[in-house]
């Protein structure tokens, strides 16, 4: 799986270093658990579409929804966005 686009999210949450990553395929339960290996995974399947959150300590938090095609990445305010590259590489290593 590949990240095909990234966008910085600006909003009323000033001061956040928030990015949306668009993937080239829909998010499955399998890739959620693959991403979850990087940190602490919260997976809730009681919603209309299952939701997940992965906290990778001192690095970033990833949020997303199963069957959508994008994930939201929260970097600490002072954190370099190079961390996104690490995550993108990890996603690229995923194959069904």
């Amino acid at each position: 799986m590949k990240v095909i686009q990234e966008k910085k999210i600006e909003g009323c949450l000033e001061g956040n270093n928030v990015w949306d990553l668009l993937l080239d395929d829909v998010i499955t339960k399998e890739i959620i658990f693959y991403l979850g290996k990087k940190g602490k995974l919260l997976y809730i399947d009681s919603f209309e579409k299952p939701y997940f959150r992965i906290i990778v300590r001192s690095k970033y938090t990833v949020k997303g929804t199963q069957s959508n095609k994008s994930i939201r990445v929260f970097l600490p305010d002072n954190q370099n966005i190079n961390l996104l590259d690490d995550l993108k590489s990890y996603i690229a290593e995923y194959s069904i």
Binding site: C12, L13, F47, E48, K49, Y51, K63, G64, T65, R72
Partner: protein, 382 residues
């Protein structure tokens, strides 16, 4: 998609608004924005001003000038008045469209500034505004209705306070226009900013400023007016004195149609339906321990449901509603950062849901169900 962010921009627009905009976009641009000065009956701009004057009970339609929205209108009011060396009283429920122009003037050393506290529902007591007035206070600038909690201030009383102390009163009616009754004549309002894209059902990019007869502002911009072209300086003729440049014809057309919709439907009918939605949501969720509700109870517009769920940042609630349920609300500071402490929601703000007149009972039920599911699923999780 369920769109519950009408406090930001109303959606959907009434059918007649869509039809009017399509018609004007398909018409040659011969509809002079300036013909109204001489040919009033033919001019959509003048027609729209008449309808706005009727809605706000303004004595004279030409005292309403079009702007790109409330922000430009408020900038015109704040920067156009001679406030230099004076003290300004405003409130902590203001939007950044008021806060930022005022703070800029303060930083430039041109004004002194006091923001009066609000209570935990965003209400500001009129007496507290009077207590903040100094000998050199030149203006009171107040939000009629909070975009965060829906608190509605007593503008008539505040205006009377302004008159008593020989201050000007500027009202930000961004949320109130098209939603609440406004009477600029009876309330003796000096300047009132409004926008077209919220409860007036127009497009983004159209709004206006009511300027009471006798108030003269320095224009924000000067330039072409389409008439009086022989003048080498801005003609001091209302409303073109403040409307330099090509006017937003599609915006005015949309606003004009939105005003027709409000007039035909009834502002009270529109308002009652929104209030019914908010009241139902509040009743369904208020007894849950994990939810904190911030919308004003008394003195309320009844148009917003503002809340937080214990243990969750508002952004996460927003994200789940949007991505898992396709319900669009708004989270964060809502461009009203001075309210954070009064509501005790620093640093993340709140979640705000604002249904519209067109929202259905089914959509409201789905929103309530989603909030209950989120609360249940996150119980004990951080």
């Amino acid at each position: 998609m369920i769109y519950f962010n009408n406090t930001a921009t109303s959606f959907p627009k009434p059918e007649n608004v869509i039809k009017a905009v399509i018609e004007i976009l398909n018409s040659p641009p011969t509809h002079s924005s300036r013909s109204g000065i001489e040919e009033e009956s033919q001019d959509i701009f003048f027609t729209c001003r008449i309808k706005l004057a009727k809605l706000f009970n303004a004595p004279d339609p030409i005292r309403i000038v079009f702007t790109s929205g409330s922000t430009e209108a408020l900038n015109l009011a704040i920067k156009g008045l001679d406030l230099q060396g004076g003290h300004i009283v405003s409130t902590k429920i203001e939007h950044n469209s008021v806060i930022r122009p005022l703070k800029t003037l303060e930083e430039e050393g041109k004004i002194e500034l006091t923001f009066v506290d609000c209570d935990k529902y965003g209400y500001v007591e009129s007496g507290n505004i009077e207590n903040a007035i100094h000998q050199n206070t030149k203006a009171i600038i107040v939000n009629h209705c909070s975009n965060v909690t829906g608190a509605v201030l007593d503008i008539k009383t505040i205006s009377a306070i302004a008159k008593k102390h020989s201050c000007k009163i500027i009202v930000d009616a961004s949320q109130a226009a098209g939603c609440l009754p406004i009477d600029v004549r009876d309330w003796e309002i000096d300047l009132m900013a409004f926008t077209g894209h919220k409860s007036l059902f127009g497009l983004q990019g159209i709004g206006g400023l009511y300027i009471r007869d006798g108030i003269e502002l320095k224009p924000l911009k000067t330039g072409g007016t389409g008439i009086k072209s022989e003048y080498l300086t801005q003609p001091k003729i209302m409303p073109i004195y403040y409307e330099a440049g090509t006017q937003n014809l599609p915006g005015v057309v949309s606003l004009n149609a939105g005003l027709d919709f409000i007039s035909e439907t009834g502002i009270d009918v529109i308002q009652r339906k929104k209030e019914r939605h908010i009241s139902y949501i509040t009743d369904e969720l208020k007894n849950y321990d994990r939810i904190t509700i911030y919308n004003s109870i008394n003195n309320s517009s009844g148009t917003v449901f503002t809340f937080n769920i214990d243990g969750m940042v508002p952004e996460e609630v927003n994200y789940i509603l949007e991505s898992s349920y396709n319900i669009h609300v708004r989270s964060g500071l809502h461009c009203a950062p001075l309210m954070l402490d009064a509501l005790n929601v620093r640093p993340w703000g709140t979640v705000r849901a604002s249904p519209s007149y067109f929202s259905t009972d089914e959509e409201v039920e789905k929103f309530i169900m989603a909030i209950k599911e989120i609360m249940r699923s996150f119980a004990g999780k951080k």
